[in-house]
């Protein structure tokens, strides 16, 4: 339809701006991923060697990807479940809910640099939150090595990001809950549904679009996680918190392997697009089913 094409003009400014600033450089990255560019001198073509190194020869990159997936799973569960729970509690507080939302949202405006520094102070094994727990007698909490225990380093960092993010999630869910038609609840109650049944059969289906979009944003966003990890541990100790982005950053800026870093960036971007596309397929198929 001619008007459909014409309507695209509305989108053009946004698209053009973004494409010029982001996508065009990304395309140049694709070009550089086939070179050995060090960021300064003229690059020379190296074919697929960057890609084969990345996939077969780089255990750190593989570990980083595993960490990315772990991070994504953490964020698909904890903030969403907790945010929803808190939202459901908050909507029942009447006029106070605006106050609660306002206060829970505050960490969102704190920069990752500040939050990262504060929590690194908390995680200090010698003068951090452990000392506080010890002083009140909770020794089982006092001895936790938040950063030093490498099996929980990533979770300790994720905690900061969760602290930052879940207030936002909660506000979104409050909005979604308000949009659920009251009469549906009443009808369910009349039919004798328990609270749990009402949750699963009324609430969840009604907030489904919001939930799915939140999941999409989480999946897509988890490919980029950088700030908190970089400020707090730079991927350490010993790669326990290494993410694709920190590894790429180090290769690009600290060892001048911009070509290799570009290849990894292209890979991660591609993986992200695939993840998005896959999720959309699942979503569409599940909507078709009764």
């Amino acid at each position: 339809m001619a008007s459909a094409a014409r309507n695209t003009l509305f989108i053009l400014p946004a698209f053009a701006l973004h494409a010029a600033v982001v996508s065009v450089p990304l395309i140049s990255l694709m070009f550089f991923s086939f070179t050995d560019w060090n960021g300064l001198a003229t690059p020379s073509f190296v074919g697929f060697s960057n890609f084969s190194r990345m996939l077969f020869d780089d255990a750190n990159f593989r570990r980083a990807l595993v960490n990315n997936v772990t991070y994504m799973l953490i964020f698909l569960t904890i903030p969403i479940a907790f945010g929803l729970l808190m939202a459901m509690l908050t909507v029942r507080t009447g006029r106070l809910q605006v106050v609660y939302q306002a206060l829970f949202f505050i960490p969102y405006v704190v920069s990752p640099a500040i939050a990262g520094k504060i929590f690194m102070m908390f995680y200090d094994p010698y003068n951090g939150i452990g000392q506080f727990f010890a002083s009140i007698g909770w020794s089982f909490l006092a001895d936790i090595q938040y950063i030093g225990n490498r099996s929980i380093t990533l979770f300790s960092i994720a905690f900061v990001d969760i602290w930052h993010w879940w207030g936002f999630v909660m506000v979104i869910f409050v909005a979604a809950l308000h949009q659920v038609d009251r009469s549906l609840y009443e009808a369910a109650e009349i039919d004798g549904a328990t609270k749990l049944q009402r949750f699963f059969h009324v609430t969840l289906p009604q907030i489904r679009p919001t939930l799915l979009t939140l999941i999409t944003v989480t999946i897509v966003g988890s490919f980029v996680t950088f700030d908190y990890v970089y400020v707090m541990t730079q991927g350490g100790p010993a790669g326990a918190s290494e993410m694709a982005s920190t590894w790429i950053y180090k290769r690009a800026f600290s060892s001048y392997e911009v070509g290799y870093a570009s290849a990894m960036s292209v890979f991660v971007c591609g993986a992200c697009v695939m993840a998005y596309w896959l999720f959309q397929r699942i979503r569409r198929n599940s909507e078709v089913m009764p």
Partner: protein
């Protein structure tokens, strides 16, 4: 639910969570009032004695006044650009038949996942060729592009909640789509506009990498960069950093509290729908 969980029990739970949730912020404020030695000895403690020296030193050496003004200008510019392009795009993506709609929606969602450092070198090169390095215009363009996709998502959700009938009524009266957007939708969109203003401003306020590379010299710096003045390569005075953090946070918190009513309204009416 009303029977089992009385209002007061609910509030107790929420308040409990809130107190824990606010501990890090409280710690920043408390430590800003203490001395470095005291903080070194015990991280978590009420201020032994209240002293404002850290604030004075943080304020003067951080050159915060100039930084605030710069951030305000850059933030304001970015917000302006984002609002204009997003309002148009969100309107079309929700109300109008558009060629390639799914592509565009997918494009903007995936756009959230581009790490800024991946593109910093080509972007810098491009801006340099245009003579826009170390200029507010240059960084505004970059920020607007980077921060637009997420707020587009929010705006789209909100617009989906504005009934199409209202715009169609205007169309019947002879308005163009653009006219309907400006005359009908936009006035109703005040809450989401406030939301987008806040979200975009927060991101601009906290952004470090591009600011550090594109803004050169003390006079051009933003608040995020001023905060870093106290973080040397190896040194860190915790109390001073806390004071610097408070100075950096305070205006953001103030802006947030001024706008949070509308912000919550915007989120309430829009939320985040696919």
């Amino acid at each position: 639910m009303k029977n089992l969980l009385s209002r007061s029990a609910l509030n107790v739970i929420l308040l409990g969570v809130l107190v824990i949730h606010m501990v890090p912020i409280a710690v920043i404020f408390f430590n800003a009032l203490r001395t470095n030695e005291n903080v070194r000895r015990a991280l978590l403690s009420f201020p032994e004695s209240v002293q404002f020296d850290n604030f004075v030193s943080a304020w003067t050496t951080g050159n915060f006044l100039v930084a605030f003004i710069n951030t305000l200008v850059i933030g304001g510019g970015t917000v302006g650009v984002v609002l204009v392009v997003n309002v148009l795009a969100a309107y079309a993506l929700t109300k109008l038949p558009v060629l390639g709609r799914d592509f565009f929606i997918g494009y903007f969602v995936v756009a959230i996942a581009v790490p800024s450092f991946a593109i910093v070198v080509p972007v810098y090169f491009g801006l340099s060729a245009l003579g826009l390095v170390n200029s507010k215009l240059g960084i505004i363009i970059v920020y607007a592009a980077i921060f637009m996709p997420f707020s587009l998502l929010l705006m789209r959700s909100y617009f989906m909640g504005v009934p199409r009938d209202l715009e169609e009524a205007a169309l019947i009266d002879g308005c163009s789509e653009l006219g309907a957007l400006l005359r009908i939708t936009l006035p109703l969109a005040r809450p989401i506009i406030v939301t987008v203003v806040l979200i975009v401003f927060v991101h601009v306020y906290n952004e470090f990498l591009f600011a550090n590379v594109l803004l050169q010299g003390d006079d051009a710096r933003t608040v995020a960069l001023s905060f870093y003045k106290f973080v040397g390569r190896f040194t860190e005075d915790t109390a001073t950093i806390s004071a610097s953090a408070v100075i950096a946070l305070a205006p953001m918190l103030a802006l947030y509290f001024l706008t949070q009513r509308r912000f919550v309204e915007g989120m309430a009416a829009g939320g985040l729908k696919g």
